[in-house]
Symmetry: D3
Subunit: 246 residues, 6 copies
């Protein structure tokens, strides 16, 4: 059930029996020569809607822009600063809490968001702990690719060549979601250099010249994407339900 | 050309000859009994992509969440505070300016965004005027429904019953874009009460009990939406090109 | 009744029967070769005090500094950044609300303030809508020159040559208010170039070399100012009372 | 020379030989039963303009609102929070520095501003010390009543009964500046209780029931005000010139 | 080499050959019935100074206060909000970078700091990536207890009973560092309940009634502390040198 | 009683009869050729703990970093910006107030902190005065060297040569506290130039080439430090108790 495609009366009805919502969050950042700039938010949105379709839970509009400062060396990447992203998360959670939402499950497509979004959760909890806020909101975030089924399938399909950025897994899922935007590109070397950490955008680019980290997304395919998507929906459904039950 | 569906190398190539980009911006807020909560961002995105398809210009991922505090009396509405929205606009513009984008045309689906986004533009310009920023970014925002062709067609189709919130026009365009989410609802009175202004969410709800202002969206249809969409794409294409030429 | 010229006990007494207050707001910015840098705040203050004299309502001290980044290309102009101006408006409203003021009518001398001050109002309302604030403050802002009597008289006196910045109207009212500071200056061309929009300070100056937009303030006179002032006081009195009654 | 009553071309000419400016700053806060709410900003403005008249230096529009949280227990008092006031000072200084002003002398009417404004100066200097700002602005603030001539005359006229808030000195100067607003009020006790410090507004009011601290402003008169004003203008002229020469 | 115990001339000399510095960071939060509130910052400081003694690198004064909102249900705990902690980290790094420090290695005693401090690093890098900052600062943070030698020894000494908060390891190291403050306390149950996550302070306390998570710090001793300290100094020395070499 | 060396249960017990706490605050900044960079926070901490030992009151962990922008011209100095320091003070006070602390006595080692910390107190009080905060916290700050006994002894020992920065007094107390870090250095001239004010870091360095202001810390000794420490502990004990009783 997509919030964007609902009326306020439908949401009101939903809230009579439930108080959980899924918020997809991603990024706008380069994903190597054959990966889409929207990969992270498209895949998070796709998986989140898959969970919504599977169990009828509410799915909020996607937070497309994330914390991507390290990708600003590549054209088209856009970042929210950490402090900005934190305020966005705060406002979205506080708004939805007005109506009765209490459990916010962020399905995340981008590792770079983790620190800022976790810090945003801590800001929200701090308001409670300091006696400023009355409403007990509870938040959790998971990378959609980080559940047991998805990790197992990624490993089976790509082994170590799945990599750490512009991974085979995410490129495959994006190809399955947006088949009209499958890109052909030279990927040399086949497997991109592994990560040992990075700092600002220029540093990132000097270490990872085509944007990929440790991945070989020439291996990606929409067929893989279909299987990975199914695994991720199952993983995230399970994680969401565990969160509600916690 | 959607930024989200491009690779960084495609964006780099685009920037060799162009420096303009369209940013769709909307809201997550109630649109009356038969309007979608996502109406504003869905329609802004739809029109923006229409312009992108028409003339090949770059279209950024949609800023779905806007300034909607006055709708928080209705379930499902979410707001960014003005200060938050201003930071989001700043960060997105500054990020894209790193790569060479210089002209930012915001296609807007929500009147409530105007003050905050205009203030955000002023913040960006102030940095230049105060000698803090070197890059000359230039921004303009237009409501997609506010061009001459679209206004004329809205008037022809609905007259005064188009209204000011949950307008027949926007509901029709959303129905054309998302036909699977056309809602049936009782709309009583047929035409909602007119606006004389409003303050916080509770005040808004007391004045406009079902969320609409001055509109009769029972008149909306996807067929109207198709015609209105075409008009809006033409209007916005013209406005974008006038902006580039200014 | 000027707040600045009252004692706290007089204000306490006022609040036993009334809860409205007028806040004049202007700017510190160039107004062309014969216009005063203080034009906007002087005229807003003058009209506001005129309303206060007419109907005995409370008039707060003037917010002299506004959002004027676009004028920083001309010596003597000063701006508050939008975010700063928003905090000023917030603090002033919140402070006065402590005592029982509930209706805040901003008489504005400067179009450039509209976005930031409107955004400030939205911040205040958002606190209410999000459940953070208990006190129901209500705010409205009007340009003193934008009521029906004043617009009609401006048109009668100057037609299109009234212009958009350093208007004949505001220069006349300032001359009537501060006759010791009437300036003689060469105004070439007689009518300044019209506006098509502007961005940062340097851009503004390149488009409007002497600071004026579309105006011919050589036509201004303190005699005109007297008539325009009377019209503006009537317009703003009416607008204030309509606001109280809303 | 008042900035508000100058044209931009007059300011430009001033800056060819000088780079100093005086900024009056005060407050909007109760001043006891016979003191005006505007006492601090009116007197600061009056003295600042006196200096401007004496030596032809530029005087900026008055910052009427200051840091007055401790007076919020009395009707009509308004405060800027410290962080807001700091941003106001920053923006005003940065704006005027764009044009070539380098020395900012704040003539202050309110002791409660000292911490916040000093902290604002430190913010500005920190930007330089941290390598973020190129323009070497220099700021100093003085209470207009704290020069040697004025202190001596206050002591001669009132002795210890001058007090610490709603002082005889400031009430006299305000009476001289605004004779139409001289108030008659019962002042019991004749000398208000002395200060031992205070915290929030309610605490202040419980310690100082009519708002005064240690003063007997029944002793004030416009005649005293005239003499004190003359002394203060001399003191501040000297202090300003010493600052320019430092 | 402790920065606090050096003169500026000694630091100047250090910077002629080196540009790295260690910043200890901890928290002020409950550590169960026999753990010190200062455990995290005391141990981080102790290990950091141990590294400084071992290899002569510079050690900055300890950031004692961290992000501890979840511990506010227990007396004496204090938190910096995430946004505050981020500004502290920014200012410390920017200040030291003025003098030539370039590599900032944070030795961390508290897992709850990771999100906020990582977000702070991202803010700093974002300034570079967005073209606002020229100085290439590089930061890394490690938990002092998370190196290979220390983890192995903790496991050997305590197995799973080391736990996740108020761990045997940290309590032992604190006992070795501050033997005068070894506490005797009833620890029932011997092993505290394991973690499944927590939200605000009240939630934390309801899940972990005496403050510990999964640990049995009755097992702790200063003798263990001595061995664990030695291991941690070796681990952190290695990690610091790897960071400098990266 | 040090908070850092207590358990939460010990703090809980303390709060059953008391609600006061001492917070030492200092700086990280140059103190001339023979003064330690940590002088201000080391001495504030030392005196605060002395008071804690004398009367059993609670002493919080030291805020080592203060507002030191003016020292950034000397290697090793670090500043928090005023706005950052204000947030730190706010968070620490608000956190401890959750548990029942109500009286916060800051023992300060650095004059440069006064404006920012006072402004922070005003922010806290403003929240109360504006009706946003319920908890009545009360704060006071004193320089440890500014009590009657200590001033008298400083004058006896050093006369005018005590100076204003890197004073003989503070250097002596630091030598007594950290005898292993007594420095030998050339101090020429014997007495550093006196202060007439300063602005940013570069300005400070140009006026005070070796960092000292008006002092002759070659006169300092740990023996003096012992006596000055005893005097300061007495002064601060008295001041703390007067604050509690106010
Ligand atoms: Ni990705
Ligand atoms: Ni709409
Ligand atoms: Ni104007
Ligand atoms: Ni006063
Ligand atoms: Ni710990
Ligand atoms: Ni010192």
């Amino acid at each position: 059930m997509q919030l964007a495609l609902s009326t306020w009366q439908e949401v009101e009805e939903y809230l009579q029996t439930r108080s959980g919502i899924i918020v997809p969050i991603g990024s706008v950042e380069q994903h190597g020569p054959n990966g889409l700039i929207g990969t992270d938010h498209l895949t998070a949105e796709f998986v989140a809607r898959g969970v919504g379709d599977a169990i009828g839970c509410m799915v909020a509009p996607t937070l497309a822009y994330g914390m991507s400062q390290h990708h600003l060396g590549f054209a088209g990447s856009a970042t929210l600063r950490p402090a900005t992203l934190m305020l966005v998360v705060r406002d979205v959670v506080q708004s939805l809490a007005v109506h009765g939402f209490r459990r916010f499950f962020f399905i995340n497509g981008h590792g770079g968001n983790i620190a800022s979004v976790t810090a945003a959760f801590d800001e929200l909890y701090a308001m409670r702990s300091l006696g400023e806020a009355d409403t007990p909101v509870r938040c959790r975030m998971k990378l959609w690719s980080d559940g047991p089924r998805t990790r197992a399938l990624s490993r089976e399909l790509y082994g170590d060549a799945d990599g750490h950025h512009a991974t085979c897994t995410e490129v495959s899922v994006a190809q399955f979601y947006q088949p009209q935007a499958i890109k052909q590109a030279q990927l040399a070397p086949h497997v991109a250099p592994p990560s040992g950490g990075f700092f600002e955008g220029a540093d990132y680019r000097s270490r990872f010249p085509d944007g990929r980290i440790g991945s070989a997304p020439a291996l990606s395919s929409p067929e893989h994407g279909e299987r990975l998507f199914a695994a991720a929906v199952q993983d995230m459904t399970e994680a969401y339900q565990a969160f509600l039950a916690y």
